[in-house]
């Protein structure tokens, strides 16, 4: 395997876990898929639709998100996602874990 490919795979693995956390953190207020995608990208977290939508579905099937189809401001129907109470509990724990991990890693890497 080329070094570049190894790097790509490792980045993919690294991002996979972080993305769930990022998505959960941005859904305290309801958003539809595309607006979430843009919100994430504006904050520097680029994500493909092909990754985001299945991820949203998975988080919903795990009970961490809720969603429903709605028409807001006379636009076309969109599916709105928002974090569930269970999702909030999980997010709080994840945040804690994340800050510990981030601290540890930045110390290790400095």
């Amino acid at each position: 395997m080329e070094n570049d490919e190894i790097l790509q795979n490792m980045l993919l693995e690294l991002r996979r876990g972080v993305l769930s956390l990022a998505v959960l953190s941005q859904l305290s207020e309801e958003q539809y898929g595309y607006s979430l995608l843009k919100a994430l990208s504006e904050q520097g977290m680029e994500i493909d639709q092909s990754t985001l939508y299945p991820l949203l579905r998975r988080l919903e099937s795990q009970g961490l998100l809720q969603s429903d189809w709605r028409i807001v401001d006379e636009a076309r129907p969109r599916r709105y996602y928002v974090i569930s109470p269970q999702g909030k509990a999980v997010l709080a724990k994840l945040k804690k874990e994340w800050s510990t991990m981030a601290e540890t890693m930045s110390e290790m890497l400095s």
Binding site: Y32, G33, Y34, S50, Y53, P54, R76, P77
Partner: protein
């Protein structure tokens, strides 16, 4: 139908039926959002913009694949077991095939056109056998992967206790060697029945000419699908046992049911008239005249003898299982650690 409709229909073809409509609606809503952003609300988008958007969104098959929960046929948890069984079965198929080759070569000799054609047939038979075996194993494991069995495997691994290493042999422990032997012999039986049915012959020398008569008739081979199903169930069950540490009531009951089903099938086959080709006519055709009737009459009791043997063997297995089953139930659910 515009391009977006066509694109969504194409994605839908590869989506799981259950969520298809919902996923399609979501993709449509996203595509329309993206399009609106690109045209900045200045009327409908031109074809080039739509094409660029779809190109960016990805190939329909790829997009659909991201929604599929089960992208693998045999998962990482079952794979080591799959590999092990594959090795065993391939070894058996190759072994059986060499035995078949040896038997055939002993008849045709080691030279001449018949030798070449025998080797040729052997090779294509072996190739076909390996491919068929591979297909069947994949099938069995793909089914196991999609049942609760895979969770049972996980549980066994999670429940592993170092104390097992010093435990004394107990009657509930599953003997891996038994399960492996059953798998090997079942595979062997299926391979021979399916690929080398012509091995079931009685051969004898008649005035210096080697002649053979087949033992089994087309009537028998009409049962082959049933025998195959029974064999596959037996293999699947033993593969499952390999992943288990102890016999549990449910596995014992399954074992009893499979034993009984096998016995019933055997009895049905053996009691069907005309499954064996040995009759006074077929013997006469081979030049045995005087003894034909006697031999045929002798042979006619063979099915009955086999039935008796099968019934006795099955009963022994079933009774052994029943005794253990009743013991298991009487035992406390909390084992005493010695």
């Amino acid at each position: 139908m515009n391009l977006i409709d066509k694109y969504i229909a194409e994605v839908g073809k590869h989506l799981p039926r259950k969520n298809r409509a919902d996923i399609e609606a979501e993709i449509r809503s996203t595509l329309e959002d993206m399009l609106e952003e690109r045209t900045q609300g200045k009327g409908p988008a031109d074809e080039a913009t739509v094409m660029a958007l779809l190109k960016e969104y990805g190939a329909p098959r790829e997009v659909a694949a991201t929604y599929k929960p089960h992208p693998y046929l045999i998962g990482p948890r079952m794979f080591p077991m799959f590999e092990m069984i594959l090795r065993i079965v391939f070894a058996v198929v190759i072994g059986a095939s060499f035995i078949g080759l040896g038997v055939n070569l002993s008849k045709v000799g080691l030279s001449g056109p018949e030798f070449a054609s025998t080797v040729g047939e052997w090779f294509t038979g072996l190739l076909g056998g390996l491919i068929a075996a591979f297909g069947n194993i994949v099938l069995v494991f793909a089914i196991l992967e999609r049942t609760k069995v895979v969770d049972e495997f996980e549980k066994e691994i999670k429940d592993w206790d170092p104390k097992e290493l010093q435990a004394e042999p107990d009657p509930d422990q599953i003997k891996r060697a038994d399960a492996i032997a059953t798998i090997i012999f079942t595979v062997l039986g299926l391979v021979v029945l399916n690929l080398y049915p012509n091995l079931f012959v009685i051969g004898f020398s008649n005035d210096g000419n080697w002649s053979t008569i087949p033992i089994l008739t087309d009537v028998f081979f009409r049962f082959l699908p049933w025998i195959n199903v029974m064999g596959l169930i037996q293999i699947a069950f033993n593969v499952f046992l390999l992943g288990q540490r102890d016999w549990k009531p449910i596995t014992r009951i399954l074992d009893i049911m499979i034993d009984l089903a096998g016995m019933v099938l055997a009895i049905i086959i053996l009691r069907t008239p005309g499954v064996f080709a040995i009759s006074s006519e077929s013997l006469r055709a081979l030049g045995i005249t005087e003894a034909a009737d006697t031999l045929a009459r002798l042979f006619s009791v063979v099915p009955t003898i086999i039935i008796v043997i099968v019934v006795i063997a099955t009963s022994v297995e079933v009774i052994k299982n029943l005794i253990q089953l009743l013991n298991v139930r009487a035992k406390s659910p909390y084992p005493v650690i010695k």
